[in-house]
Amino acid sequence: MQRIGVFVCHCGSNIAATVDVKKVVEMALKEQGVVHAEDYPYMCSEAGQSRIGEAIAQKKLTGIVVCSCSPRMHEATFRKAAERYGLNPYMVEIANIREHCSWIHKDMEEATEKATILMRAAVAKVHLNAPLQAGESKVTKRALVIGGGIAGIQTAIDIADAGYKVDIVEKTPSIGGRMSQLDKTFPTLDCSACILTPKMVEAAAHENITIHTYSEVEKVSGFVGNFTVDIRKKARMVDIDKCTGCGVCQEKCPSKKTPNEFNRGLNNRSAIYTPFAQAIPNVPVIDTDACIKFKTGKCGVCQKVCQAGAIDYTQKDEIITENYGAIVVATGFDTIKLDQYGEYAYGQSKDVITSLELERVMNAAGPTKGHLERLSDGKAPKEIVFIQCVGSRCSDDRGKPYCSKICCMYTAKHAMLIRDKYPDTNVTVFYIDVRTPGKNFDEFYRRAVEDYGVNYIKGQVGKVIPQPDGSLLVQGVDLLDQKRIMKKADMVVLATAIEPNPDVRKIATMLTASIDTNNFLTEAHPKLRPVESPTAGVFLSGVCQGPKDIPETVAQAGAAAVKVIGLLAKDKLKTNPCTAKSDELLCNGCSTCANVCPYGAITYETKLINDHGIREDRRVAVVNSALCQGCGACTVACPSGAMDLQGFSNRQILAEVDAICR
């Protein structure tokens, strides 16, 4: 028989304002096995915890129930406290009377009644709790960073500097990411390449960093401290060790009609290519879909011209398997497709472009060599219109419900750069709100208006109307003047919403990391654990977690690195003891449980079983508690009830059900 103590937290007035905590204490004392109950303003405080300790000692408690906030908030706190005072931490149960009760109900009587029932359910569960011991697992002192943009690069450098090995897996032929496509960066107008390239070089040269470009994560298994990852190294068709990066192959390649991804398809590239001049590694890849040799078997020009003999048409994809202790996701973003926004005439006119395309147009290495030109006729635009929030803040299914966060600032940057370099060109920005929270951000935007004469008009654009003469008519209203605006423009730039890289869903699934409805990875806690995923050992860096600019990305990248370092610094980790366990006497050995186990944690052994005097060899299930993550799929699959989950046993859950339905 358990001796149970019940501790009811006021949480200041968060709970006590709606739940009569004294009444809950009174009701608790009526429960079978409850030998102690008390309330306290802040149970989670040092004083609150020591009261729990005193009660454990004085009343010889064998189990405790804390009626407080969500177990997701403080279960760990109270378990640690219990352990400190000599009680097995798994003899603690939380009744969530804040998030699930006081915060959502107004009527005191009703809330108190519900809190009482939740308390009873927890008491009923504790009656059946058993002390559990956490096991230990080793930590592989190596980290994986998925994505080689600025987020991934920074995370990798920080981890590597602390002395741990890091691998970067990058899908494209070079690291650098979105930032390498940018021309200048706000709010200081540094040249993007000038600040990024040194970082890329640093990562490449770092003795602790291994970079796998043109590679993708194929499969992930294991758990925190012990991940096993299959990485597909796609066939480059170019020997990375032999290639000198001379570039002759690209020059001579006769297939030059493939849209250049790096320049957002604004010009073409050869079939053998490096995405950009500063690419790391500076080794081209052959796009086999475009390559004449691969399509027809006839060509081989690159092989002929390569003095280093680096071209190898026989290369095959290679799968390598590596072990890691921690994984950082830094998969970044792309701009949304604008197929559904026909009213802005993107796709109908070449002179309607996205902001990212404008970055390439303004970049000296871009399709126009940095000259601001209309892509239709190469003429210099005299009137440029920027349209904000294209696909952002849209609750319909065409766009994204969130604010993309970076657009207000980069548009101010673009406007300013254009006005600075081409004073004859007028710039008009149609905005809904100008959002500039950030150090020196609003000042930056004001400079665009005050010093550079950028014309900001409040009001979303209704339609961009291509004119027979090749110009564009922008139809809008000035909401402040209540006036219809028909603005003639030579070029229209759309501040297109950003969205997480589409691959992230696949990666999140492999990592069992949660993802929200917008495909952003979910953090373990929105405020207190912003760089950790809820899945232990998986960390988040950059825009994969939510829209952010470069400074924020770099800050988060560093934070993720610190979390990784903190993990890799440990030699051993405590494992979750709430794992499945099979009762050998009941097990049929039918394999049904193993069929549903996502971790391959269940194996079968033939054992000599003594079943009430009958001794026979039986095939029985054995759970590897280091692999088991405690989902419980096996427990339901098991027809005989032999498989049960510690900490969430059948009887414990049934006791909760009974208490609630009582």
């Binding site: 197929d339 926004y341 026909g342 109908q348 339609k463 004119q467 027979p468 003469d469």
Partner: protein, 261 residues
Amino acid sequence: MTYSYYPGCTLRTKARDLDKYARACAEALGFTLEELPDWQCCGGVYPLGTDEIASKLPSVRALDAAKQKGQDLVAVCSACYHVLKRVNDDMANVEDIQTRANNYMGLEDPYKGETKVLHFLEVLRDRVGFDELKKKVVAPLTGRKIGAYYGCLLLRPGKVMGFDDPEDPKILEDFIRALGAEPVVYPYRNECCGGYISLKEKALAGSMCDKIMDSAGGFGADCLVTACPLCKYNLNQSGKLPVVYFTELLAEALGVKEVAL
């Protein structure tokens, strides 16, 4: 293939051509339009008010009649198509309208939006296929530069109509191409002609139609094609370019124009 056919009141009067050409073309293309018996006028505009039931009933009757026959329901007039499709959407998805309309109708087997509503153009695109249509053309309209005028009713609201991309539609252009003519894409092809407002505000409708005509003319169109009698009427008031029904063009290309009349 046989379709239930809802001509609508305008096709019985001022827009007889639209109807006759449609029937003749259907025959030439090997499908049958079977006119629903006792159809009633759709009302010309879709009643936006969520509490308007009575004005939706003529459409429900037509839709249910098609359901009884197990046929898809085809309309040629943009307005009829618009009203039928939206009422059908209500009947399928808006529980309140569904219940109340069925109560009015007193049907044994309640109507729940089962009928598929098709515009004649959709039949051409999705059932006949423009490639197939192209093969049946006997008198290609080679050399003609035709601007498609969609107007509002075929396209919007895009989610309910599901007819084509409401901001950058293609179906009429593909249709024009199939007939051997050159489609002229111009940005005002999905802007409003003024609609019913031309009854009292001729000038306003006129200026809207002028913009459309100017834009189409500017991009080189020598005539406009439409599916809507009201659009045609309004555009004709502007008169800058000739306007024809799409069925007329089709009949011409299929060589059944003379037969039809």
